[in-house]
Amino acid sequence: MTVESTAARKPRRSSKRTSAAKTPQSSEPQLVQLLTPEGERVEHPDYQIDLTADELRGLYRDMVLTRRFDAEATALQRQGELGLWASLLGQEAAQIGSGRALRDDDYVFPTYREHGVAWCRGVDPTNLLGMFRGVNHGGWDPNTNNFHLYTIVIGSQTLHATGYAMGVAKDGADSAVIAYFGDGASSQGDVAESFTFSAVYNAPVVFFCQNNQWAISEPTERQTRVPLYQRAQGYGFPGVRVDGNDVLACLAVTRSALERARRGEGPTLVEAFTYRMGAHTTSDDPTKYRADEERAAWEAKDPILRLRTYLEKQKLADSAFFTALDEESETLGKRVREAVRAMPDPDPMAIFEHGYADGSSLVDEERAQFAAYQASFADSAEEGN
C-alpha cells in the first residue's frame, strides 16, 4: 500500500522547532501530533494529512500484522527456534508511519529492529528471521526492495545512507534515502559524521531516530543533554520531534522530510518519540534497570489502540474488518511459525561462500582442506571405524 495524501509543509522559517531549539531546558518539547492517545484527531499548523478510510485501515492493518509477526518471533525465540529476537513492540507507529511515507525508489538503511519498515517495503517477514535463527547474516537481496540489510554495529548505517544519498544526488535522481537508528546510536561518532557529511554535501537523506527511551539499560539522558532533534541545528539542517506513537504524524512528518530531500534541500533529522515496551532483546532483563510503572504509562499511549479508537469512533471500520484482520493475523503467525521451523541449517561448505566476489586462492585452499577433512569422517564411517 502507498498512502496518497496531501501532507504539505508550510515554509519552515516560522517553525516552532526553531523556538524550541532556544530552550534546551524544556525536557518535553512539543511533539508533532495528529492523533492523540485518546484517539482524537488534532491539527498541526505545519503538518496536514488527509487520508481516505481505506488508507487509514491500511495503516491499522500494517501495525496489527507487524505486531503479530513480532509476537510470533518472540514466541519462536522462547521455543528455541530463534537464537535471539529484537522486538519492536510499541514502535509500530514510528515504523509504519515512516515506512509508508516512502516511495518505491527511495532507499532504506535499517538497524536490526526495523521489522515494520521491512513490512512496508514488501520484504517477506520470514526473511528477517534467518539472521536471528543463525542460518545467515541477512537473507534478502537489498536491491529487490531498496531495503538494506540489518546493521548491528550501532550507527554505521547512517554513513552508508549518507553516501548512498550523495550518489542519488550525483545521479540527478529525485529519490530520497532514509536511515534508521536509535537514541543510543546518536552518541556514536559515525552518526555525528553522517550529519556532517549530509549537511556539507546537501545529501537527500532523512535521519529517522526512534527514541525509544532506552539503549539497553541506559536511558536517553545518558546519551544527550538536549532533546535529540535539536542536534540537527548545529549541523545546519532542520530537526523535528514527532509523536512516535502516532502513525499519522509519523507519516506526515516523514513525508515532508522526504519531499524536502527530493527538492534538493538536504537532510532532516526526525526524532520519533516512542517507547520500547518489551526487553531490548530476548537476552535482556529490563527489570534490572527500569520501573514497571514507566511501561504502564506508555501502554496508555499504545499506537495501535489509539488508531483503533479513532477508526471505531469515526465509524471508519466495522467489526467485520476487525474480525477479518484477526484471522489474517493468525494466518500470518502460522505461516511464520511453519517457515521458521522448516528453515534448514546451511550446508557446512557454505562457510566458504561469498567471502570474496572475485574468489581467493587462500579460501580455495582452505575449502579443499575442509572438504577433505569432512570426507575423512565419511571414509572412516565406511571402514567401520
Binding site: 535463527r133 543463525g134 548491528i152 552518541s187 545518558r222 562457510i351 575442509f370
Partner: protein
C-alpha cells in the same frame, strides 16, 4: 589461604571489586556496566557499592569510551573500560591503535597509560554477527599494547589484578563462552608474572599451545589422546603479547612437536608468529613442522555453522595425529 570455587565471571567481578576497593584512582567505564552490571554481569553490583562516579555508564560510543579513558589516565586515573562485544571494538580501534598504544613512546616515557580494555571475545554462544570474533592478532600486532587472555577462574582473578596494576595499556580478552566455567581461586597466593605461559598438562610426545577458550578444548584433546597412548603436553599461553617463547621452547625441546590452536583465523594469526619463532629456536629439535588449527579466512559464520568453524576436539586430534605421523 582463601580458596574458593567460582566461575570466571565471578572471579572477574571479585577482582574488579578488589581493584576498586584498593585504589581510589581505579574507574570502570562502559555501556551498561552500571545498574545492569554489564550484559554478562561482570560488573554486577559494583556501581551499587562504589557509586556512579567510579562505575560509569557511558554514552554509546566506543571511540569516546577509549578516548576519554586515555584522558583520564593522563590525569592520573586508572580506567578499566568494557567493550560490550568483540565486534564492537572497532569504532575504538583508532583510539587504541593510534593513541593509547603510542602515548608512552611519544612522551619519551614521561607519561603512562594504565588503561585496561576488557573485551569478551570468541564464539560458541550461538550469537548473531559481530558477537563471536577473535581479533587478538589485530591488537598483538600493534606495538605498545599488551594482550592477554585468561582461560580459568584463578587466572581471571589474578591476571585482572596484574593488568590493573600495570602501567601499560592491556587489552584483556575474556573468553565469553567460558564465563560460567568454575574453578578454584586462591585469593591470597602470589601469582606468577602476567605474561608467563603456564603448563596446563604435562606430556612427552607433543606440545599443544592454546589460550583463552581453546585451552579447555586442548585439555580434552590431550585426555582423549592419552587413551590412545599419546602423551600430550598443553601450554596455556595466557599472554599473546608479549609471548613467553621460553616456556614453549622448553616444552618443544622435550616433545619435538608443536600444534598451535586458536579460534581466530589461522591466516596471519598468532599461530603464525609462534610457528615462525619456534622454528627458529627449535629447528633441530622439531620432528614435524609446526601445525596450526584455527578459524578459516571467512567472515565468522552464522550461529548454525559455528561448530564447523570453531576448532573442536576432532580437529585438534586430527592435527595431533598429522604431527605424530611425520
Amino acid at each position: 589461604m582463601a580458596v574458593e570455587k567460582m566461575s570466571i565471571a565471578k572471579a572477574l567481578n571479585e577482582s574488579l571489586r578488589l581493584a576498586l576497593d584498593t585504589d581510589p584512582k581505579v574507574l570502570i567505564m562502559g555501556e551498561d556496566v552500571g545498574k545492569l552490571g554489564g550484559v554478562f554481569r561482570i560488573t554486577d553490583g559494583l556501581q551499587k557499592d562504589f557509586g556512579e562516579g567510579r562505575v560509569i555508564d557511558t554514552p554509546l560510543a566506543e571511540s569516546g569510551i577509549v578516548g576519554t579513558a586515555i584522558g583520564l589516565a593522563l590525569r592520573g586515573y586508572r580506567p578499566i573500560v568494557e567493550i560490550q562485544f568483540d565486534g564492537f571494538v572497532f569504532p575504538a580501534y583508532d583510539q587504541i591503535v593510534t593513541q593509547l598504544a603510542k602515548m608512552h613512546a611519544r612522551a619519551l616515557g614521561k607519561i603512562k597509560m594504565p588503561v585496561v580494555v576488557r573485551i569478551p571475545y570468541g564464539g560458541g554462544i550461538g550469537a548473531v554477527e559481530h558477537h563471536s570474533e577473535s581479533p587478538e592478532a589485530l591488537f598483538a600486532h600493534v606495538a605498545g599494547l599488551k594482550v592477554v587472555s585468561p582461560s580459568n577462574a584463578s587466572d581471571a582473578y589474578w591476571m585482572m589484578q596484574q593488568a590493573v596494576q600495570s602501567d601499560d595499556p592491556i587489552i584483556f580478552f575474556e573468553p565469553k563462552r567460558r564465563y560460567w566455567d568454575k574453578g578454584e581461586v586462591d585469593t591470597e597466593s602470589i601469582p606468577g608474572p602476567l605474561h608467563k605461559a603456564s603448563v596446563a598438562r604435562t606430556g612427552s610426545d607433543l606440545t599443544l599451545v592454546a589460550y583463552g577458550p581453546m585451552v579447555k578444548v586442548c585439555l580434552e584433546a590431550a585426555a582423549a589422546a592419552q587413551e590412545e597412548g599419546k602423551s600430550v603436553e598443553v601450554l596455556d599461553l595466557r599472554s599473546m603479547s608479549p609471548i613467553d617463547f621460553d616456556t614453549i621452547q622448553t616444552s618443544v625441546e622435550k616433545t619435538g612437536r608443536l600444534v598451535v590452536v586458536h579460534e581466530a583465523p589461522v591466516f596471519y594469526g598468532s599461530g603464525a608468529e609462534i610457528a615462525a619463532r619456534i622454528t627458529e629456536r627449535c629447528f633441530y629439535h622439531l620432528e614435524a613442522p609446526v601445525l596450526r588449527v584455527g578459524g578459516y579466512h571467512v567472515p565468522y559464520p552464522p550461529a548454525r555453522l559455528e561448530d564447523e568453524y570453531l576448532p573442536g576436539l576432532d580437529r585438534v586430534l586430527d592435527a595431533v595425529d598429522r604431527s605424530l605421523a611425520y
